[in-house]
C-alpha cells in the first residue's frame, strides 16, 4: 500500500472525526499554535525590518544574524526549553517565534531598502514627512515582499508545530508522533497529508491576501515586468 492509500483510508474513516483528539480538534489546535507565534513575530519583525530598511542602520548585522539563525536546530531548541522550563506555554511559543522572525525581518528590510530612490525623492519633494514617506510610500511598495516574509514565516511555523507534538503538544503532529510510537502507519500518513494540506492552504491564503492588500498599480506593474 502506498502513502496516499494509507493516508486516504485513515483521513476518510469517520471514527477519526469524532471525540477527544479527533481530526477537527487537532487542526484547530495546530492553527492556534501557528497564529499566535506568527502574530508576535510579525509585531516584532515587520516594524524592525521597516526601520532598518528605511534608516539602513544595522542592516548587515541584521541580515547576517537572520541567516545564522537558520543553522539553529529547532528540535534542539524545543527539547532544551522543555527540559529547562517544563511544559509552560513559553516552551513552544519561544522557538516558533524565533523561527518566524528571520524571514519576516529580512524580507521587510529587503522590501523597504529596495524602493526606487526616485520614488523616495518624489515623496520628499512633495513635502511628506519621514513618517509619511514610510507609511504611505515605502511600506505599500514593499508590501509584496513583506507578505513573502510572512508567508515563509507561516510555512515555517506550520511545519515546525508538527515537531512540537514531540514534547507533548496537540496539533497534527500528535497523529504522526503517536502513530510512529505505536507502529501504525495510517495516522502517520494521514497526519502528514493533513499538514501538507494545511501548508498549501496557507500558501493560498497569502495569495488571496496579496490580491487584497497590494496596491493595484503595483500589481499591474509586476505583471507588466513579468511579460517583458
Amino acid at each position: 500500500m502506498s502513502f496516499f492509500s494509507w493516508a486516504w483510508d485513515w483521513v476518510t474513516a469517520s471514527a477519526n472525526w469524532h471525540g477527544q483528539g479527533s481530526i477537527p480538534q487537532q487542526i484547530l489546535a495546530h492553527l492556534g499554535y501557528t497564529i499566535l507565534p506568527l502574530l508576535i513575530a510579525a509585531l516584532i519583525a515587520v516594524p524592525a525590518g521597516v526601520a532598518i530598511g528605511h534608516s539602513r542602520r544595522g542592516a548587515v548585522a541584521a541580515v547576517n544574524l537572520a541567516n545564522a539563525a537558520r543553522s539553529i536546530p529547532t528540535l534542539g531548541l524545543l527539547v532544551l526549553l522543555a527540559v529547562l522550563l517544563g511544559f509552560s506555554f513559553l516552551t513552544w511559543l519561544l522557538p516558533l517565534v524565533a523561527l518566524a522572525i528571520p524571514p519576516i525581518l529580512v524580507n521587510a528590510y529587503e522590501g523597504v531598502a529596495g524602493v526606487d530612490p526616485g520614488v523616495k525623492d518624489a515623496a520628499r519633494g512633495m513635502g511628506m514627512t519621514s513618517w509619511q514617506q514610510v507609511t504611505r510610500v515605502e511600506v505599500p511598495i514593499a508590501l509584496p515582499l513583506i507578505l513573502v516574509g510572512l508567508r515563509t514565516g507561516a510555512i515555517f511555523v506550520v511545519a515546525t508545530a508538527t515537531i512540537a507534538a514531540y514534547i507533548g503538544l496537540g496539533g497534527l503532529g500528535r497523529f504522526i508522533i503517536d502513530g510512529l510510537a505505536s507502529n501504525e502507519y495510517g495516522p502517520v500518513a494521514g497526519g502528514a497529508l493533513l499538514v501538507v494540506v494545511l501548508a498549501v492552504l496557507v500558501l493560498g491564503f497569502f495569495a488571496v491576501l496579496n490580491r487584497l492588500v497590494v496596491p493595484a498599480g503595483l500589481r499591474s506593474q509586476a505583471k507588466a515586468s513579468r511579460t517583458e
Binding site: F3, W6, T74, L99, V200
Partner: protein, 227 residues
Amino acid sequence: MMWSWIPDNWSLIWQLTWETAKLGVLSALYGLIISVPVGIVAARWRWFYPPALIGANVLYGIPSLALFVALIPAFGLTDTTVIIALTIFSICIILPNVVEGLRSVPDAVRQAATAMGYGALRRLVTVELPLASPVIIGGLRVGMVSSISLASIGQLIGVSSLGYLFIDGLQRDFPTEIYVGGLLIIALAVVCDLILVGIRRILTPWQPRREKRSRRVTTVAVRGQAA
C-alpha cells in the same frame, strides 16, 4: 552542564556528528548535482522555469517530518529516506539560484564568447557556469546549512544523527546532551559554510575578497527551510 559527560561519551558524539555530516552534506551535494542540469535547461528554455519554480515552492512548503513519513513505504526507516527528503529541499533552494546565476551573465559577455568562436557547450562550461558560480555556491551554502540542521529531525523516524542527543536528553531530563547536540550541529554548519566560502574564493579569483551580493540574490538566499 555536566562537562565530564563529554569525554565519557566521546565515541558516541563523534559517531553522531559524522552521521549528521554525512546526511547533510550528501543531500546538499545531490541537490547541487540535480539542480545544475535542470537549472541550465530552465535558464535556456524559459517556459520551463515558471512551472519548475511553482513545483519547488510547493515541495518546499512540505514539513520535513511529513516528507520523511511519505517516503517510508518506499524506502523504509533508513538513511535513504532522510537523504532523499533533504535532497528535495536542497533542490528547492539551489535551483532558483542556478537559474538566477545563469541569467545574470551579461549578454555582452555571452556575445563576446560567441564572437571568439565558442560553441554553445564550450561557452556554457567555460564562461557562463564560472560566472554564475558565486550565486550557485550561495544557494549551495543555504542548502547545506539547512540540510545539516534538518537532519536532526530524521531521528524522529529513527535515523541516527545528532538529533539522538536531543531525544535522549529530553527523555533523561539531561540538558548537557541537548547543549552538546545543538552546539555541534551549529558548529558543523559553520565549518561546512566556511569550506564552501573557501571553495568559492578559489574558483572565482576575480571576485572581490569581501562578499558582494546583489539584492536579488540575497532575497533568494534568505529562504532556507524550517522543520
